[in-house]
Amino acid sequence: MSPTVYVPADAAARSMGADGVARAIQTGAAQQDIDVRVVRNGSRGLAWLEPLVEVVTPGGRVAYGPVRASDVPGLYTADFLNGGSHPLFLGPTEALPWLARQDRLVFARVGVIDPLSHAEWRENGGGRGLDAALEMTPEAIVETVTGSGLRGRGGAGFPTGIKWKTVLATPAAQKYIVCNADEGDSGTFSDRMLMEGDPYTLFEGMIIAGLGVGATKGYIYLRSEYPDCERVLLAALTGARTAGLLGASVRGSGRAFDIVLRRGAGSYVCGEETALLESLEGKRGEVRYRPPMPAQVGLFGMPTALNNVVTLGSVPAILAEGPEAYRARGVGRSRGTLPFQLAGNIKHGGLVEVPFGVSLASLVYDYGGGTATGRPVRAVQVGGPLGAFLPASALDIPLDYEAFVEKGAIVGHGGVVVFDDSVDLAKMARYAMEFCAIESCGKCTPCRIGSTRGVEVIDRIRQGERRPQNVALLRDLCETMTSASLCALGGMTAWPVLSALEHFPEDFGLRPGAGSDAGALAGGS
């Protein structure tokens, strides 16, 4: 049998030259006149080792990384096809401590299988959730999801089963499943990795959602910044129709479900669910007033279950293993696992799927290995551009929706962005306001105008101009934006801004400890 080599086709691996590595391996094989089967898998999520090349040996898969195309001749010399020793040799992949310590439910197959092979997907446990769902009533499906404790992974953490129950209970000629694949938060890439590494599992989750709420049509709204992902999804949709997973009769059940892939157009606010629906309808991505909720009046006015990629991707495991197994993981009201994403200035960045309850410090230091620059960690932002900045002294906090909210922070989509001690938090606060100004949909004045004013006020504070007055003004502005904005873009931009001010007052030219008290200022005029 010809040797099998895995070279990820994940966008992150490709950004580090994986295509060249795959070509070099083929070239080497041709030169040695051997037949090598190169499989383009998803990423295992150890980003600092990408491209991570795996070879199938009698003892299982062994890994080499990070491999550059120029390393490939040396790998052949070292007999890597038989797991030969080489400076890049990492050992058996699944024994790598980073992977061995994870609890991969949603990402069980990502990096393991050929993402486009329906057969490999089935052999590796794919589709078992759908097998179960096809035998169940819609009510039982919704009940199972509710019982698992699954909450939305897109940011708001709303219980998925409850949303589905509303859609199920709303009669309509047509209902929709909409998958939010807009993944706009900086520091996040779990949606992308799941879609590129195991697209059939996302489709499976959408089909189960369709069976649960009575929808026959799904849309995936994919951000335009993910062209690699778009290619994978298009190919996978064809594959799924050929395999009978999608179509007029899902797996011969007589029940229809199909999916349309749509591309966004570079707007962050279109990740907000109602703006996303407007965009899908071909309009400007402006946020809608609620009620009505999308679950009742959603896409094209019809009841719509709108969920994040990872939410939908978690559903198959819940149906396959039962709600109790899922619920057994996690803490408090945060049940199950979350694929955390370690990013920014971090030595070992990538994807860590573990149950809720892990501490932020453990993610940053035990998995992440501290900063990439080797300097001390100064701040960590969790949950994207609307998430608070936490100081290095406050990382001993469990990843749990409620524990984070207590600290004025959010878990959001699980992105963890690390900054070393060279960061200027006043500059980051300014950026938070600037980002809000750039991405505001324009519907409410506090967001549209307030964010631009916020940039100006922070500029003045940074320049030392009338600091006490300007800090007070910034607080007022934050309060207005928080209380009078229609959606979380305007409504939560204050979180990164005020947390920066509170924890890092010295960056604003204030006395340490003065950030939460505008009266106790150092300097300023």
Binding site: A11, A12, R14, S15, M16, A47, W48, E50, G184, D185, S186, G187, T188, F189, D191, R192, S224, E225, Y226, P227, D228, C229, R262, R263, G264, A265, G266, S267, Y268, S279, L280, E281, G282, K283, R284, G285, F300, Q341, L342, A343, G344, N345, I346, G349, G350, L351, A372, Q381, P385, G415, V417, V418, F419, V423, M428, Y431, F435, I438, E439, C441
Partner: protein, 180 residues
């Protein structure tokens, strides 16, 4: 095909718009796919195409313009022959994307948010490419690059093969590509 990569040949805009209309005009909410289809082929949305789009979609011209102007991706001016997008979101900032932007401006001799007068490059920011574990990131003509320090930036620019003659018609001026 990504919205910002160039076709190898220069298609006939009228035919492109016609094809996009045939493919998407009847799709529910088909305006975005239709606009993407035009821009995928032409690299931008020629303003003269928009009235026709408005007509077939049963929308006013103002409505179509409202949609086009809302989304950062849509271009009403032709981009340069190469489109460089540097990520400016938090994770990439944590890894020095400000310095990278500065380097790119120097190296390409241009400002952010602009197209060079010779039509060689468009340089613009992007807010997260989903490659945050390998920050800083950028794309060149839609191809993603990770861990881009100034040296890597120069390598990527230097390694780029010359563009086929046909796509040069997209340039603002007919001037040939100058050595940088």
């Amino acid at each position: 095909m990504p919205a910002h990569s160039h076709p190898a040949t220069s298609p006939d805009p009228v035919a492109t718009v016609g094809r996009a209309i045939t493919a998407h005009a009847h799709e529910p909410g088909g305006l975005l796919p239709l606009l993407h289809a035009i821009q995928d082929e032409l690299g931008w949305l020629p303003p003269e195409a928009l009235p026709r789009v408005a007509d077939v979609m049963n929308l006013s011209r103002a409505e179509v313009h409202g949609v086009v102007s809302f989304y950062h991706d849509f271009r009403l001016k032709p981009p340069g022959r190469r489109v460089v997008r540097i990520c400016r979101a938090e994770s990439c900032q944590a890894m020095g994307s400000d310095a990278l932007v500065e380097h790119a401006r120097q190296r390409l001799g241009m400002e952010m948010h602009s197209t060079r007068p010779d039509g060689g490059f468009t340089l613009e920011p992007v807010y997260c490419l989903g490659n945050c574990a390998l920050s800083p990131s950028m794309t060149v003509d839609g191809t993603l690059h990770g861990r881009v320090d100034p040296a890597r930036f120069d390598e990527v620019i230097d390694e780029m093969s010359p563009l086929p003659e046909a796509s040069r018609t997209l340039a603002c001026t007919a001037e040939a590509e100058k050595p940088l």
